[in-house]
Structures are given as C-alpha cells and as structure tokens.
Symmetry: C2
Subunit: 120 residues, 2 copies
C-alpha cells in the first residue's frame, strides 16, 4: 500500500510542511516520487518514518537523525555505528524518564501545597 504526503501527515499527526522540511533535510532518502513529482510513501517508508519520529520525539536533533538515516542507506558496514547510536539514545531516554519523574514529583508536591493553602 502507498500513501501520499497528506495521508502520512494525518497518520502521524504531523503537518505536510513538516514532512517536506524533513525530506529537504535529507531524512527521507528512500522516498519515491510519482511521474508528476508527488512523494510516495510505501510501507517500508512508513516503518522507517516510525523510528525517525521516535528519535525526533526523544529529542535527537535532525542532523543526528540524518546521520543515522545516512548510515542506514549505506549497508551493513555501518551496523556498529547505528547500534552504538541507538544505545546512546537508550541511555539518554532512560535519564529523561528519571528526570521527568522527579519533576513530576515536585509538581505534585506543589499541587499539594497549593491545595493546603487554599483550604486555609
């Protein structure tokens, strides 16, 4: 099954211009085009997009994602680099979660304090 840019945007809750911007930044080197020039996302492209968004949503800058994408296109030689990058990202995300949980606790304490103040 193939998808247009508009469909992909809806599926992933992105804007069309965002997808075009990512393409221009080199994040979709695997994208095909129709004869008239429209971008075509196939199932593989959607699969790949998923991991790209995953990296983006955990705070990886676009140029680093591009590095990963470029490595992915070069073949098996770069498997070690890609693995290393994902492991680094895993560590980063684990820290993110811990930090965010700490901040959650602080916010909840603030809520409790505010509620106590309001009752007085």
């Amino acid at each position: 099954m193939n998808y247009t840019i508009g469909q992909v945007a809806k599926i992933n809750h992105l804007s069309i211009s965002q997808l075009r911007y990512y393409d221009n930044q080199g994040l979709f080197p695997f994208l095909k085009r129709t004869e008239k020039g429209d971008r075509v996302f196939d199932e593989d492209a959607l699969k790949f997009l998923e991991i790209i968004l995953c990296l983006k949503n955990t705070g990886m800058p676009i140029k680093d994602i591009k590095q990963f994408v470029d490595w992915s296109m070069t073949g098996e030689d770069t498997l070690p680099q890609r693995l290393e990058m994902m492991k680094q990202q895993e560590i980063k995300v684990l820290h993110q979660i811990r930090d965010t949980e700490e901040n959650l606790t602080k916010i909840q304490q603030k809520i409790a304090r505010l509620e106590r103040e309001m009752k007085k």
Copy 2:
C-alpha cells in the same frame, strides 16, 4: 544565605546568561540587588527557582512560566489559577512519561534488531 548569579548558575547547571535572560523575561520579579546592582538570590529565590526550572524542564514555555510567576506575586486571589495550571502540567508530564516509555521500547526493539543483524 545569599548567592550571586554565578553561584546559582553552578548550582543549577545553567549559564549566567540564561539566568539573566530569564530575569529579563520577568521570571524573577522577587530578585533583590546589591547597591552596585548585582543580583542577589536568597534562599526563597532558590526555592522558587527550583519550581521554575521544574516547569521549564518539563517543556513549559517561558511566557507561561511568567504567568505562573506573576500569579504567585499577586497573593492568594490567584491560588485557584495556579493550582489549575499545575494540574494541567501534571497531566502533560504524565503523558510525556508514557510517550517516552513507548519510544524507549521502540528504541530497544531497534537495538535488538540491529544486534541480530550483526550476528549474521
């Protein structure tokens, strides 16, 4: 105990210019100054900074934080608004954590796939 901007920067792992920028954005209306004009952070300021950073680190934009700070300076009339804002933020952070955990899982699956590919 009082602290200079440099000390506060070190304690909280921020740059001095970041702290000055926040002050210019109106995030520190409670800040005192020495006669020569240097910013003085007292214990209360540090306490307040902690909650400000907590909001900032969970993705709240500076102008929203300023709203919260402004409310905090006005007295008890704004307790309900502040409470509501913190509750909204709590919800946002809970979602953040869930989303990040999902992304973590995907990254870990990617790691597993890459490791399988490398063994072949």
